[in-house]
Symmetry: C2
Subunit: 165 residues, 2 copies
């Protein structure tokens, strides 16, 4: 539950486990009896597997996906950031600070020219401008930033879950 396994080697999962994972990924609120009958198990075995997947950290958490526009966050942007070469050791700290900002939805650490990419949700163009100024440009460790507006954002419902390996 509180562990964070590294999965250097893929976890041992059989076809039923993969089926359970896929179905919970599509609908985290499916009832245990319905899930059990869908994957061909008894409710008790199914529940034991789900609990094991959760305890092993394979199921990280259950979450409701919220439309940000309903909360007044109508604009999304991707901000790529390059850190000054002499300030790379500050990346962990900068990342921690960024992740505490309510605008930050995702943070990617990258290889290549840019050091990281920030997915932000904001009210409007002025909001993203202020976010970049206050949280990035003002930091002397930041060499440069580039902001791209997001017109559409899609999250796939089955990334690698239906046809694993």
């Amino acid at each position: 539950m509180s562990e964070s396994p590294q999965f250097t080697t893929p976890a041992v999962l059989d076809d039923i486990d993969r089926d359970i994972i896929a179905r919970l990924h599509e609908n985290a609120r499916i009832s245990n009896v319905e899930l059990a009958s869908a994957v061909g198990l008894s409710p008790s075995s199914c529940l034991a597997r789900v609990r094991s997947l959760r305890e092993r950290g394979i199921i990280i958490r259950y979450t409701a996906e919220i439309d940000p526009r309903a909360l007044g966050f109508s604009l999304q942007a991707l901000v790529s950031v390059r850190i000054r070469p002499g300030a790379r050791h500050l990346m962990g700290q900068i990342s921690d600070e960024l992740r505490q900002q309510p605008e930050v939805a995702q943070l990617f650490f990258l290889g290549g020219a840019e050091d990281f990419l920030i997915h932000v949700r904001v009210r409007d163009a002025d909001h993203v401008r202020r976010f970049v100024l206050d949280n990035l440009s003002a930091n002397p460790a930041v060499a440069l930033t580039e902001t791209n507006l997001v017109f559409e954002h899609h999250t796939a419902l089955s990334a690698g879950l239906r046809t694993p390996l």
Copy 2:
């Protein structure tokens, strides 16, 4: 349930609705009675609000967040794509095809120099190379691609705006 409201104007939500959203975002499997007592409502009123949020599309879906490494997807990458100017009308079709690939976790439509950015989960470097070759470079509508490896990926758990998986 099947509608996709645009929220050109933010939806009308009171503080209790926002509280419900935040708590379901943190734990989509919280029981209705526990949620009700947490936000100070009776179970029936709470359930009615949750159902309304779901029907209005404010709660998009409930999903289990899965650790991709457990399924053998140990590498992540961001692939930015530019479409040939004369082929922009094909972007919708290309997007639909991409979203059906099991490797695609997220798809961003962008303003600016690049047309979209793809977040992929793959087994290894060879897998991402083949993904780009087969799904992008082979398409004559694609002008150029750029692949960046992802060293770390964090999704923020803030204000009900996190993106699952």
